[in-house]
């Protein structure tokens, strides 16, 4: 006799409930929305306003289902996007409930009565949730035979975002995104009933209704592109992509954003060898489903008309660059560099935008082909203190033992020092805001003025004079005991940005703060390649994997992996960027290899130009003519990210690998160019392809060395130890300069994007009311090198401080003033420009 198997009793875990969906019993975590529970069971309930990352709205009513509670059916169908699961609930979706099915069909029909059905010419056609769901859940024919509501269109709500109000189904995803996620609610619902529409204070003018709105602000957001992507119809389109292609003609390739150090996942859509658009990719650990507008729209630099596509060699007689074959160019480069190397030496400036594989190739090329430690990726202000900081606290950290996006969102406190998250790493800003909004994360900024990011992270500003950040950090224990206490809380995080290198003693102060309080410290550089460049040793003091060049055992290890003779690697730390430039000017170096560096980004652009002119031999690996190619003896064209594979390490130390999007363009990645150049110089790099370079580096990468607890206990180099200095004190007619870059400015990767440029923040000088007194509306900020005149906006800066955008139209601080954050500048009343 066989026993009937006992019915297994389903245990409902703690924090879960049991309910029935379409006759199937299901266990769901408390608080889960019905629409998600159904989705887990494979039933997609149609929806428009629902978005997993936005607060529920229940506005479109497309997701109605039948619900029974405690054995009693609820009288009305319920919106499954707003109702949470409950024990014993019985849910019937359109699969099993004729009522739900009719309700959904009815709502769909209503949504379509005022929709233009211009799918054949709509950007969204082919990837449109309305189109798809109308096919699945709608009536084949409409009974509507009256007049559709019409609006003039398109309506530009910014230079980049265009609105077609006729197509809009008023799901409010865009307004909710702006209000909740980005926190810049420039777009709002206007009017009511069937005349309800999305708009801004400016667009209301179209119907002569400007007086009914009050904000007076244009839609000027760094995140506006996300509203286009989450629009479930074709109501929001971008000026960049509008009418350019059909979704079904595009080939999609996963990619990683090449702009800031967040490493956001993206999707690159291309057609016939040309990138048509970039979209936010989904990565819950990094960017969730959002990217900033720079990441989304700034990609046409790669198709600029002046892109260098063939090698160039300078004609010794005419002094002009002339097109050459790869063979000729590589030979000329190899000869020149070998001669320089064998003379007084050659150095490498590899720039902050390389992939890990390319940066590794530069690092290896310097050591193996040029036999030098004179390599620095830092094309910006930098310091020896920063080198110690990178070597002791940054290299070797990763998501498993360091600070992550997730940690930011869940931190009780985040202290941002010399770091402007929205301008420098927008995805970090979004996470900070999310944590602050949803979990009450306290965000404190040590900076100069209450920037929009301070406001929108619900943050607190500890204002200090530029250059006094180090003493401000040192003073936390004494002057801000509350903050000091909060920093000791489990999970507290300190973030520091690239500007810290301009404040002597700041890295030291932060290191000590972290040691003292136990707060976790993370470095967020501004450029995508910087974190990786640290890891691969594109620095004068570090070899790949964080090995100190002064460590004999580490050198031996690297020599063995690279197949070099023992003692082949130089034992002395090399020169840093400024050291290299100074040595070139002084005639202590002969040659230079430069990869993607703009002299105007360097701390002293004049010194950089002088050095390039003085250098005996310059090889430039570039995409477009630059201040370096002007002086280069050989220019070798290299591939933009879309045309090569590779990876970035984002600020978390997370590996962000991407395949090639556009294949077969003939453009070569830096690693391949350097590998071939190495061969010409009798040095084997084994970096023919990004994969080869990655494999080579993997043998030297830090792996499993750290655990979370001892991450900072095994520093590769000495911890930074520089005393903090008093901030400069300005005299009469002077001020201390605060400056950082705006996300959308005159950066070289932002060219050919006029629509994006139109969404940049206003270029203004900021200062306190007292400082602005007597200056009129404009200020002229000057040094002995030059001057910048801008309109003044009064803000809450400390007195005697003036803030300028770093590299915006009309305000190129380095290039024009030769000054930086913390410099003393002269200020005077400026004429209107």
């Amino acid at each position: 006799m066989t026993m009937a198997p006992e019915e297994p009793k389903v245990e409902v875990p703690e924090g879960h409930v049991k309910l029935t969906v379409d006759g199937e019993e299901v266990i769901a975590p408390k608080g889960e929305l019905l629409i998600r529970t159904a989705e887990r069971l494979g039933t997609v309930v149609p929806r428009f306003c629902d978005h997993p990352l936005l607060d529920p709205a229940g506005a479109c009513r497309q997701c109605l289902v039948e619900v029974e509670m405690g054995g009693r059916p609820m009288p009305k169908p319920q919106a499954s996007c707003t109702m949470t699961v409950a024990d014993g609930m019985v849910v019937k979706t359109q699969r099993t409930s004729p009522v739900a099915d009719k309700a959904q069909q009815g709502v769909m029909e209503l949504l379509l009565i005022n929709h233009p059905l211009d799918c054949p010419i709509c950007d969204k056609g082919g990837e449109c949730p309305l189109q798809n769901q109308a096919m699945a859940h709608g009536r084949p024919e409409s009974r509507f035979r009256d007049k559709k509501r019409t609006f003039p269109k398109p309506l530009p709500i910014s230079t980049q975002v265009l609105l077609d109000r006729e197509r809009c189904v008023l799901c409010q995803r865009c307004t909710r995104f702006s209000a909740q996620i980005a926190g810049d609610p420039f777009i709002e619902l206007l009017e009511r009933g069937a005349h309800q529409q999305i708009g801004t204070a400016e667009t209301a003018d179209v119907l002569d209704m400007a007086s009914r709105t009050s904000s007076g602000k244009p839609f000027q957001s760094y995140f506006s592109g996300n509203t286009i992507q989450i629009c479930p119809v074709g109501a929001l389109t971008s000026a960049q992509y509008r009418f350019r292609s059909r979704p079904f003609d595009l080939v999609s390739s996963p990619s990683v954003c090449e702009h800031c150090s967040s490493g956001c996942a993206e999707r690159t859509d291309f057609r016939r060898g040309k990138v048509m658009r970039k979209l936010a990719g989904e990565d819950p650990e990094v960017n969730e489903e959002w990217v900033c507008d720079k990441g989304r729209f700034a990609f046409r630099y790669a198709t600029a008309s002046d892109r260098i596509r063939t090698p160039l060699v300078r004609n010794a007689e005419t002094g002009e660059l002339e097109e050459a074959s790869w063979t000729q160019a590589l030979r000329a480069a190899a000869e020149g560099l070998a001669k320089a190397r064998d003379g007084k030496g050659a150095a490498v400036l590899s720039g902050g935008r390389s992939t890990v594989e390319d940066a590794y190739s530069y690092a290896k090329f310097a050591r193996v082909a040029l036999r030098t430690n004179d390599i620095d990726f830092r094309a910006r202000a930098h310091s020896a203190e920063e080198l110690d900081f990178l070597g002791s606290r940054v290299v070797g950290t990763g998501p498993e033992n360091g600070v992550t996006f997730h940690a930011l969102e869940h931190a009780p406190l985040v202290l941002c020092v010399a770091f402007e998250p929205e301008e420098e790493a927008p995805a970090v800003f979004l996470r900070l805001r999310k944590g602050a909004r949803n979990r009450g994360t306290q965000v404190v900024h040590i900076g100069q003025w209450t920037t929009p990011a301070v406001d929108r992270t619900f943050g607190e500003l500890l204002a200090c004079v530029p250059g006094a950040e180090a003493s401000a950090v040192e003073g936390i224990a004494q002057h801000a005991p509350d903050l000091d206490e909060s920093l000791r809380a489990e999970g507290a995080v300190v973030l520091v940005g690239e500007r810290a290198a301009e404040v002597p003693g700041l890295f030291t102060a932060l290191h000590r703060l972290a040691e003292r309080t136990g707060a976790r410290l993370a470095w967020i550089p501004r450029r995508a390649g910087e974190r990786g460049a640290v890891e691969v040793g594109a620095l004068p003091t570090l070899l790949p994997g964080g090995r100190a060049v002064t460590d004999a055992a580490a050198r031996t290890e690297v020599e063995q992996v690279w197949g070099l003779a023992e003692g082949a690697l130089p034992a002395e730390p090399g020169r840093d960027t400024t050291g290299i430039l100074t040595a070139l000017v002084a005639g202590e170096l002969d040659g230079l290899v430069v990869g993607g560096v703009d002299p105007n980004d360097l701390p002293d652009p004049a010194l950089a130009r002088e050095a390039l002119a003085a250098a005996g031999f310059v090889v430039s690996l570039e995409m477009r003519p630059s201040g370096v190619t002007d002086h280069a003896d050989v220019v070798l064209p290299i591939a933009p990210v879309d045309e090569k594979a590779g990876s970035f390490l984002n600020w978390e130390g997370r590996h962000r690998e991407f395949p090639v999007s556009l294949e077969g363009t003939g453009a070569l990645p830096d690693c391949r160019v350097l590998d071939t150049l190495g061969v010409e110089m009798d040095a084997d790099l084994f970096t023919q392809t990004p994969a080869a370079a990655a494999g080579d580096f993997a043998r030297l990468a830090v792996k499993g060395t750290f655990t979370a607890s001892d991450a900072v206990k095994v520093p590769f180099t000495a911890a930074p130890d520089v005393p903090h200095q008093q901030a400069a004190t300005p005299g009469a007619g002077q001020a201390v300069l605060a400056t950082w870059r705006q996300l959308i400015d005159d950066g070289s990767l932002l060219i050919d994007e006029p629509h994006l440029a139109g969404t940049a923040r206003a270029v203004v000088a900021r200062m306190s009311a007292a400082t602005a007194e007597g200056l009129g509306g404009h200020v002229t900020v000057s040094t002995d090198r030059g001057s910048i005149s801008l309109p003044i906006v009064v803000a809450d800066l400390p007195d005697g401080v003036v803030w300028l955008p770093g590299n915006s139209p009309g305000s190129k601080v380095r290039a024009t003033l030769g000054a930086g954050h913390g410099s003393v500048v002269s200020i005077a009343a400026g004429g209107a420009r």
Binding site: P56, A57, G58, A59, C60, R61, Q62, L64, P75, K76, P77, T82, K102, A103, G106, V107, E109, L110, L111, I113, N114, R143, F144, D146, K147, R149, V169, L170, E188, L189, E191, R192, G193, A194, H195, Q196
Partner: protein
């Protein structure tokens, strides 16, 4: 104390000279209930209102005492009492005359209710177009303040209450309590997602109770007369007096106070019968959002249960009377145009549905409707009713569904000329 059914309660001072003055109010028992209430505890007041069976006069009829008891007992956050005086339902005109004639009865009710709910700030959200009542209320608030009925330490009880009269900006949707709260906060008035309900997170996310003017104005009488006295009026489940706003084709339209459960036949007697003797054709028991009644319903007791059993709702007891000269499709079209205009736009069914319904009805009244359109009307109504975000959508379809239910022939007659009898004959 006993009550004659016809003895006015809520309207008893309305005809006194300068009835809106504090002196008149005080002469006629004014603020005596407040003195009595302040001697008791808030819990006792909530229990009294529960016992009285007072139900919300704004239309839904929710028991007022139960609503008050939802307010949390602690005061971790400020508690707010908000009076819904955004009287906008077509046909409804009881709160505005009440505030005009007897503003102090509302203010006294506010103080008592606020005391019962431990609220120290009360807002009266008045329909923006009602300028005159707003001025009356503000003057009355100043008088009450000066006399110590409002402000700090009211009548030496230690209880403080600030009362703010706020003018709305002219949107029907702001009569919906959560839209009203958004509007009061300075936002665009659209209904909020519930839960959280106002008692948990209402105005400024703090515990809030929203009550209708007439509900709160009834409270002082209950305090003075007691629950048993109140229950002598009206019916068991719907006790108390009620102001019926009678408009349309009657001899003397106006406000008539009568106990709940009074029938239209009785009300017509009070207001002098049908105008010029032309027979009744249809009427609304409680404003345009309540399904129509006809002459068959003359003896339906007008209380919450009676109206519901007969297929309509009591609503705001805005009794609109139409005689036989009025075309039902035309009246229904006018109401639908109102809902189309006032739909807030938040949800699809109401926003798009009213837009569509209005067009069909306009076309039909214009003589271009078809029989098929009647089915479409009913089906679209079915797709709105119970599918919209708030009750406005439900209200919008009431005149259409009930109009077609009782007067389908009139709709059909309008479509007569567009019958598809010949191929190609369709208009």
């Amino acid at each position: 104390m006993t009550a004659d059914p016809i003895t006015p309660v809520l309207t008893k001072r309305w005809l006194s000279p300068q009835s809106w003055r504090l002196s008149t109010y005080e002469d006629l028992e004014g603020y005596s209930a407040l003195r009595k209430a302040l001697k008791g505890s808030p819990e006792q007041l909530v229990q009294l209102v529960k016992d009285s069976g007072l139900r919300g006069r704004g239309g839904a009829g929710f028991p007022a005492g139960v609503k008050w008891s939802f307010m949390p007992p602690n005061e971790d956050k400020p508690h707010y009492l908000v009076i819904n005086a955004d009287e906008g339902e077509p046909g409804t005109c009881k709160d505005i005359p009440l505030m005009m004639a007897d503003p102090h009865s509302l203010i006294e009710g506010c103080v008592i209710a606020a005391y019962a709910m431990r609220s120290h700030h009360c807002f009266i959200y008045v329909r923006g177009e009602a300028l005159h009542p707003i001025r009356r209320l503000n003057a009355a608030v100043r008088e009450a303040q000066a006399a110590g009925y409002l402000g700090a330490d009211i009548l030496g009880s230690g209880f403080d209450l600030e009362l703010t009269v706020h003018a709305g900006a002219g949107a029907y949707i702001c009569g919906e309590e959560t839209a009203l709260l958004d509007s009061l906060e300075g936002r665009r008035g659209q209904p909020r997602l519930k839960p959280p309900f106002p008692a948990a997170a209402g105005l400024y996310a703090a515990p809030t109770t929203v009550n209708n003017v007439e509900t709160i104005a009834s409270v002082p009488y209950i305090v003075n007369g007691g629950a048993d006295w109140f229950r002598q009026m009206g019916r068991e489940k719907s006790p108390g007096p009620k102001i019926f706003s009678i408009s349309g084709h009657v001899e003397r339209p106006g406000q008539y106070e009568a106990p709940l459960g009074t029938t239209l036949r009785e009300l017509l007697e009070l207001c002098g019968g049908m105008k010029d003797g032309i027979p009744l054709k249809f009427w609304t028991p409680g404003g345009s959002s309540t399904p129509l009644f006809t002459a068959e319903h003359l003896d339906v007791p007008l209380d919450f249960e009676g109206a519901a059993e007969a297929g309509s709702m009591l609503g705001t007891t805005a009794v609109q009377i139409f005689n036989e000269t009025v075309s039902v499709p035309w009246a229904v079209m006018k109401w639908t145009q109102f809902y189309e205009h006032e739909s807030c736009g938040k949800c699809t069914p109401c926003r798009e549905g009213t837009y569509w319904l209005a067009q069909i009805l306009e076309r039909m009244v214009d003589g271009h409707g078809t029989e098929e359109d009647i089915d479409t009307l009913l089906d679209v109504c079915d797709n709105i009713f119970g599918r919209s975000f708030c009750a406005l959508g439900d209200g919008a379809v009431s005149p259409i569904t009930s109009g077609i239910k009782y007067f389908r022939d009139e709709f059909l007659a309008l479509c007569e000329s567009n019958k598809r009898e010949l191929v190609g004959a369709q208009a």
